[in-house]
Symmetry: C2
């Protein structure tokens, strides 16, 4: 299967520590890299991850709280110093331009590449990026300021040719793409060969949803139907459910409820409040509801 | 002697790496902390250093290039989250307000403390801070944009009382401060006791100069006469002297020449270009001119 990996650069909440940065991830789809949030220190973590800076296609910011964006200017400057010439598109909610364009104009005036800011409507799900292999759309979230998650969905791939059967019936190369697309074949002597004898099923379509920061929002599950993997903030334990509601964050159990309702395959929880000595209690509360949950960790790679 | 220590949080040039942050230091004078520059990741390095966030008095920025300021917003946010209520004064050259006030207004709107920006004249040396124990003044530097270094000079302390001699002559407590200040004493029977029998000399007055980023500027040495310790950028080797001049940086040898001409006691070189696999060549070139040179290192503490 083609590469579809999540690299977690940082998964702490607002207070970064030497052990854990604030929010930032890289989604690696066939060596095209997409960044999700960009906390302070993200560029150093990206370097540690050994992913290629030059393969970064675009940056998607969930919202304009410092712990999700304070690494942006440093990263943009470094791209300039590394001689990037490819345009870089940055997506984020309302105020993205007002807040960052002046800093970009000041600090990146001599940059050899163009930085293009796109404000997205964080209230209505919409497709904001599409290429040969992936479609990226927004997921409205509920936070203190405009905020949206992002959903990465692979495009369906063609069926796999069964080379031995193709050879046996001496089917010409010109027909291979039709057969990959699902067509049957009739030999010159009139024998009908159904497509499922000529091919095996395509790879399953994988998807990844990044949902942070957000209060518990049950209707989010509908938009995440059958998603392969969800990253959902689980900032607090159930004990702090009222605090979660008040600060527009979720408990680990609420993250698990979203994954359960969405019938997702896997759940990663993150954005841990620094008040917990160990995140095991968060993991335990989530697994009670959705067993296939793991804790995010800085430097972790999740292969879909 | 009272504490006067330099804590180097980062000493790399423009490209931060997992091993070396860009420019940032803490000067610790009697547990009052002063920050010099604030590169991305400075708050994490400050936490690693185990210095107290709440003891930070003020921040001094040499110039508004990203590798000297991109950690500022994160640090200011963290102070807010930690519940700081004490005002924080930030000093830096021209444009400080234009560049940072909008970001502070946006990201620190709910901060429980006040952030006060002071633009300093980077062309004329001037005293910008003074308390009971230290005077801080600016040092004009020569870079591509307005830039100044900072000079920390302890205030002279009184002479030390010789307790045994005081007791011997039964000098009353009311006179101790006069004697510390240098006055002599005449006993009731008319015996004259010169001050230097009653006291030992005061601690030497120590000073620290932070000079980065700058092209070689010979007249800087006059302002640094007899300074205890100079930190001066030594970005390049002599081989790259022309590049140094073109980019308004210094070679390690030029840094050493400044220290020699100033008759300083010690020199720390830093702001190393990432092109050198080892900085030993920089150290070697500097020590040829000024033997008491050391290489800066992230996490290093220098006791004056």
């Amino acid at each position: 299967m083609e590469k579809f990996e999540i690299n977690i650069l940082g998964c702490g909440a607002a207070l970064p520590t030497p052990r854990r940065l604030s929010s930032s991830q890289i989604v690696n789809i066939r060596e095209k890299l997409f960044m999700l949030d960009c906390a302070e220190g993200a560029q150093m973590a990206l370097r540690r991850s050994r992913l290629s800076f030059s393969h970064l296609q675009a940056i998607f910011l969930t919202h304009l709280h410092g712990d999700h964006v304070f690494g942006l200017m440093g990263l943009l400057s470094t791209f300039g110093l590394l001689g990037r010439i490819q345009d870089l598109h940055i997506y984020g909610p309302q105020d993205l331009q007002r807040v960052f364009q002046p800093q970009i104009d000041y600090f990146c005036a001599d940059s050899p590449y163009q930085i293009i800011l796109h404000e997205v409507d964080s209230k209505t799900p919409q497709i904001i990026y599409e290429d040969r292999s992936v479609v990226i759309s927004t997921l409205p979230l509920k936070h203190r300021i405009p905020c949206c998650g992002y959903l990465f969905r692979e495009k369906p791939t063609p069926r796999h040719i069964r080379r031995d059967v193709i050879d046996f019936y001496q089917i010409p190369i010109s027909q291979i793409n039709n057969i990959k697309a699902g067509l049957d074949w009739t030999t010159e002597d009139g024998t009908f060969i159904p497509n499922d004898r000529l091919t095996t099923p395509p790879d399953p379509v994988r998807s990844y949803a990044y949902c942070t920061d957000t209060a518990y929002r049950p209707q989010l599950a509908e938009m995440l139907k059958d998603v392969t993997c969800i990253y959902h903030e689980g900032t607090f334990t159930q004990e702090h459910e009222i605090l979660a509601k008040k600060t527009f964050h979720s408990t680990a159990a609420q993250a698990a409820q979203i994954a359960l309702d969405a019938q997702a395959c896997r759940l990663i929880i993150g954005h841990f409040s620094s008040r917990y000595k160990s995140e095991d209690v968060l993991l335990h509360e989530a697994q009670q509801i959705f067993p296939n949950t793991i804790l995010a960790e800085d430097g972790m790679k999740v292969v879909l």
